[in-house]
């Protein structure tokens, strides 16, 4: 009985889907934060917002791509880190002892994670439409989804890499504080990167999410601080590196 890679990827994806649709509390929970950010910041910061030298942009329009980027970030990291939960609850042993290529397992996890993250990001997008957000055009929506997928791949890969090195889930909350929060706070999601002081700006510029949010903004509202091609290339490189790193580290995992 030779196992094949496509089946492996499919079954890992299928497992993610089943777990996602059964954990309704988790879905609502992970939607809640972006939703509240949208409502509070979107409406709260409406007055008195203008970008230096840029045409008049409604803060809600500015914020929505940022919130979508944040949603993708959180869900992707969580999907990657789920390796840690599998280790804690023992299921990782079942995966590691199977006669399959570890790379196929990683791809399956990525496929599953992207799908669930995308579902949530699109739900937030729909929500924002009700709040008054307007998408530029249908092509923009397709491009935005492409950027979402790229962001997802990169950060799931990162999550898998980190989870393959860590031994337990206590380190998980440390990762969240130390890494995830600064990443989305300094990504241009809430305010333009150009607003940052000189010493903080480099952090934003090496932050992959900065380019993800910028690409989303370019696609959805037609405004961006960098060239969309630059955004796309950087995300592609980041994604490839992270998937390679995550796969390599996961391949060496022992339990």
């Amino acid at each position: 009985m030779k196992s094949n890679n496509l089946q492996t990827i499919y079954v890992m994806w299928l497992r993610e889907m089943k777990r996602f649709f059964r954990a309704k509390a988790r879905v609502i929970g992970t939607l809640a934060m972006p939703f509240f950010f949208l409502i509070s910041f979107g409406f709260g910061m409406r007055q008195g917002f203008s970008l230096p030298g840029m045409p008049q942009i409604n803060y809600l329009d500015f914020l929505v791509p940022g919130i979508i980027g944040m949603t993708m970030l959180f869900n992707s990291i969580f999907a990657g880190i789920s390796v840690l939960w599998d280790r804690e609850f023992g299921f990782l042993k079942e995966i590691l002892v199977a006669p399959v290529k570890r790379f196929a397992i990683v791809l399956g996890r990525i496929a599953g994670g992207i799908t669930t993250a995308l579902i949530q990001a699109i739900l937030i997008l729909i929500l924002s439409l009700f709040l008054g957000f307007k998408i530029l055009n249908p092509l923009g929506l397709i491009l935005a989804i492409l950027f979402m997928i790229l962001i997802g791949i990169g950060f799931i890969g990162f999550g898998i890499a980190v989870a393959s090195i860590l031994e337990n889930t206590e380190s998980f909350s440390l990762i969240m504080q130390l890494f995830v929060f600064p990443t989305f706070l300094l990504s241009g999601a809430f305010f333009p990167v150009s607003n940052l002081p000189k010493w903080l700006k480099p952090v934003s510029l090496i932050n992959p999410l900065t380019y993800g949010v910028d690409g989303l903004r370019a696609s959805l509202i037609g405004f961006s601080q960098f060239s969309p091609f630059l955004d796309f290339s950087i995300l592609l490189i980041f994604g490839s590196l992270m998937v390679a790193l995550g796969s390599w580290l996961f391949n060496k995992t022992e339990i």
Binding site: M1, S3, T8, R15, K18, A23, E88, A98
Partner: protein, 266 residues
């Protein structure tokens, strides 16, 4: 052909030698017991044979396949039921089995047929669509045995298969083990602390202590050689009365926190 063959198998963790140069063989169709105190190296040995850990030194063959160079062939030939549960408890029993079947490359028709077969063997047919979180400990263990058999393995590893279970389930599991061995000729390697279980089930036992095999023979021979009435006496004679502690890892902690008894859905 021997089902299992090890030669100078060694595993070292940061200077601690967990498995120290062990060489032994398990015959095809045998029920072999690996006995030893806590921390003796039983689980580490099994993990190496199951290709979950790489040995530091030495070699081993499972069903004729090398554990380092032919890992996927080894994995295809073995089933394993771990000491700590390895189920996805947000999926149903059926879905856990289906996941395993797909991972091991069973085609659609074989999958469906085999799932029914193994569920019938462990008497879980009417619980197949229950989420595993709602299974009792005994049901989970039975499901894991069913899962280990899904891909028709030639060798089955059972790490403490009846640990913490009620007597009815224990006896059932012993029946399954004997049935699998006698009817389907599956080689079974089990580790256990229950000496009477080893005495009852195993054709030969190996006693391992501090990573080394200190005795290997049939339970009866061991009792004769060491002039002891029970296997437990032989064991205590060979390994002493000092209590061995092992480091508790977090999944063991979780397992202890889980309530021992669940509502009676047997």
């Amino acid at each position: 052909m021997l089902a299992i063959e090890t030669k100078n198998l060694t595993k070292e963790f940061n200077g601690l030698i967990a498995v120290n140069n062990i060489s032994f063989g398990v015959k095809e169709g045998e029920i072999f017991g690996l006995l030893g105190p806590n921390g003796a190296g039983k689980t580490t040995t099994i993990k190496m044979l199951a290709t979950l850990l790489k040995p530091t030194k030495g070699e081993a063959k499972v069903c004729g396949f090398d554990i380092l160079r032919e890992r996927n062939e080894v994995r295809n030939s073995i089933g394993i039921v771990f000491q700590e549960p390895a189920l996805d408890n947000r999926l149903t029993g059926y879905e856990n089995l289906d996941f395993h079947a797909r991972l091991y490359g069973l085609d659609s028709k074989t999958r469906k047929k085999r799932i029914q077969e193994v569920l019938t063997l462990v008497e879980l047919e009417d619980k197949a669509n229950v989420i595993v979180r709602n299974y009792s400990g005994g049901m989970q263990r039975r499901l894991e045995i069913a899962r280990g058999l899904m891909h028709y393995p030639k060798v089955l590893f059972l790490d403490e298969p009846t640990l913490g279970l009620d007597p009815q389930t224990r006896h059932r599991i012993w029946d399954y083990i004997l049935q699998l061995n006698q009817k389907e000729k599956i080689t079974i390697i089990l580790t256990t602390h229950y000496m009477e279980e080893a005495d009852y089930l195993c054709q030969r036992v190996g006693i391992i202590d501090f990573g080394k095999i200190v005795a290997l023979d049939t339970p009866q021979n061991l009792k004769n050689i060491f002039k002891k009435p029970t296997l437990e006496d032989v064991f205590l004679h060979l390994t002493g009365r000092k209590i061995r502690e092992t480091e508790v890892n977090s999944s063991e902690k979780l397992r202890r926190l889980r309530p021992a008894h669940h509502p009676p859905i047997r």
